[in-house]
Subunit: 289 residues, 4 copies
């Protein structure tokens, strides 16, 4: 398949590589040309401009930072995309932005599907992303070989692209909730003389049995927030997405609000570039540690 | 060992049976004599009075409802316990109550250890309880064969009995936090047209991989709160314990407070006898479902 | 002075009348021409188009619904405004929108000042608005006679127009906080058998001595939310403004978040068109009333 | 009337003086005899023991620190009180404690009424307390001349003494809510460059017109928390009373919970002995100031 990949950051780069390895004709473009060098030597075509990059694509995949970046780039390439071509947006964006993109493409006879992923750069490297796709069923099937080349699982969520985005940001909310809960519990047990790491082993062994609890719990217990796996300021971006979605859907989410306020507190006290699990430090600091 | 077991409810009963099966000399007493019949036919001695029940015990185990019940019963039997005998309190009680019990026993040359457990009646039946013991190390070792007869794991948390209680109630707080988080996330995805069960499968498959998420998530997704596995009014009791411990330790726990308020809301709207995961219904109702 | 007034709703209409009464040359335009009839017979010129309305204005006053309305109308009339003319925006809008408007006008050699007001339609009728002005000091002085014709007080808040908007929305937040606090306190005293009206008299007599507490407290105590003085859905708009400003300024405002979630709950349960003090019903309903 | 006054702190002392000035036969007792010297020279009888202090009293007034102090002292003097004598408890105590006291006195043919007050030591000095009385109507009338000698207003709240305590602690909750709201609003306006004092003048002039807002707002705007008018650790005591009452009445009070957590944060960061309005510092610190 002729595939164009836009957004060659630490997620997009390995994803693009897996597409090449699976035998697709890959075209890339990046404002920072350095990022295309390795892909070019692995067989990707490097386009000189964004317009050139998309003109022959059957599928354009975008893996960009946020709503604004996706909208800006899409508005730039959309006039050059073929009618009938598919834009699969794999970024974590708002449901509203997804609906807007669908309208933009629809107006030109193009197809939009949302396909955000669960998984960090390590998972992207290891082809272990979990892809959540929503939009036209037929066109998701067209993209299936691409998604399967990049990930370990594909879940299809129906016709409305926004649903995939809602599921993605709700998943991130659940992780943030785990961080907040661990932060508060650790503050309590620490003040009572129990070592957080010991507490974590017990509650994970006896109750959760979850690698995610082991992972985040371990980072928080050891206060090992630097270097960051996922920066707090990006975690805040996702927290905002869920708060905005809750607002639009008229769903009160007091725990999401609590997390949002703790993110603001973390930003205001200089934690923007730490790992997002440093959110748990707020509970610790408020307890006087 | 000569062991006396007080509190033959749906937790205590199977626990007592496992002690018998392990070959201990078990004495039981219950205000409702019916509960002792099966144990008697399995070999337990049934005492006629509380005083008689404890007088020859090397270890007295209590598995009673709450602080008040444990204090009342203990005040009644303490004059008849031998000096040097051990009271192992396995109920979920407050750290303060644990400290008070330690003082009461200490004043009479007796020993108090806290040994609360993670696990529901099914786990008690299956000898899968996780025992958290704190208090005198030597006397915990004395009790070790008893704990091992009843559970799959024993964690020792140091000299201060209150620590075991803090760990127990903090663990319950983490489960309640999971319920609250799932309740909010389900409300959001449902209003967006995503089926909660499908959402749960995704986030547990992609993120948590936790049987506890599968279990509670499943109950909440299917709104199957009756019959209850653990009644909401008892869940509220535990929520109060963690809030009181946080207050005493000067640890702000806003998520625990949020959960406490949602429990009150659940009680005030007639959910006391549903499963405690009906806490998640508050988010759903507030979203207009 | 040549003044153009745009936005002749239940606030703008009496404000425009006061300007006429003070002897200014007033031009009006409204998409719903009916609204201009009374003003025309009182001496206002009615423009046929928005462009015509602003072309000779020394000062253009806008009193429109929200950010979107102000931006849309301003983008339409800005090409026809004279260089050096002043746009005084008296709506309750976001600080960000205010900054954006300042840039738009600045780029054309025009002047923007923010001048939101405290006061409802009755206060507008009675010339009792409190005007908060921010922007170029010299141009605020130019507008002073206009503001004084419409209100009882004018406070000047410096060069940055956004500050006036921050003060306005923070004031509204404080009222919403009062409503929330009264709602919770009333729920508690009611469940204890104390009549809310009696409670209100005591706490206002003994503590607050505030007409605002008497007013909102009276509405809430009597649950007299219909007809609305200020609709709940508009109150929610203001709650969103303060939450967004808090987010942009990195200021955690947990009480504002709590209010925001209760507004969502009120919207989701059909209270959009009641008085915004029906926010207090959430506490009442959650207590089982 | 023969009146005994117990609890001669900075509230009780001026209250006792007003009773003397109104011509009542006053008996006092204090563990710290120094506190009785001035009252003795103004005409009060000083009893040598608590028992002696109450034995001839028609009315015993207590003005003590908290539930525990009131219960302890009452249990000591109750055997020596005459049948038919009245205990008027004017402290800020819990509704539960009030009910317990009523039972204790009832069992001995004595009368208990709750009569907490709004007002600080300055108000006590100036005879400006506001008395909230609840209990037997007839016996409140007996005490009326005493209450009128000490305060400017008396509100009667019915037969159940606990109601007076609920009203008192709910009033204190409303003040704490004002402090929290001002703290958050000040943090937002400050970060936007508006001086808190200026903001306060506007919102109090335009909206609240309340001396209480002027007073607390002024303290917070100027961060003048030392010396304290009312210590934060005592404010926390009252916050706990309202949270406990809400819990017992099954009334979710999320704003009270938020305040409770901020009090814990204030205690954990060394603010126990500042004025209780230092609660507002939490919002300021969390915003990075």
């Amino acid at each position: 398949m002729n595939v164009t990949f836009l957004g060659l950051g630490n997620m997009g780069n390995p994803m693009a590589r897996h597409l090449l390895a699976a035998g697709h004709h890959l075209t890339v473009f990046n404002r920072t040309p350095d990022r295309t060098v390795a892909l070019a030597s692995a067989g990707a075509s490097v386009a000189a401009t964004l317009s050139e990059a998309v003109q022959n694509a059957e599928v354009v995949i975008t893996m960009l930072a946020d709503d604004r970046a996706v909208l800006e780039v899409t508005e730039n390439f959309i006039p050059n995309m073929k009618a009938g071509a598919i834009h699969a947006c794999m970024s974590t964006i708002s449901p509203d932005c997804s609906r807007r993109l669908m309208e933009l493409h629809h107006a030109r006879g193009q197809v939009y599907i949302a396909a955000p992923v669960f998984g960090r750069p390590e998972a992207a490297e290891a082809r272990k992303l979990w892809v959540l796709a929503a939009g036209s069923a037929r066109h998701i099937e067209t993209c299936r070989p691409l998604f399967e080349a990049m990930g370990r699982a594909l879940t299809i969520l129906g016709d409305d692209p926004a649903r995939a985005n809602i599921v993605k940001i709700s998943g991130n909310f659940l992780i943030a909730a785990t961080i907040e809960a661990l932060g508060e519990a650790f503050a309590l047990v620490k003040k009572s003389g129990v070592e957080p790491g010991a507490f974590l082993e017990i509650i994970n062994g006896a109750l959760f049995n979850s690698p995610l609890y082991a992972n985040y719990g371990g980072i928080i217990a050891n206060q090992r927030f630097d270097p960051p796996g996922f920066k707090l300021k990006l975690g805040f971006k996702d927290a905002r997405l869920v708060l905005d979605a809750a607002r639009n859907a008229e769903v009160p989410m007091p725990l999401a609000s609590l997390i949002g306020d703790n993110f603001l507190s973390a930003l205001a006290t200089g934690k923007a570039d730490l790992d997002w699990s440093a959110l748990a430090q707020i509970a610790s600091e408020r307890a006087g540690f």
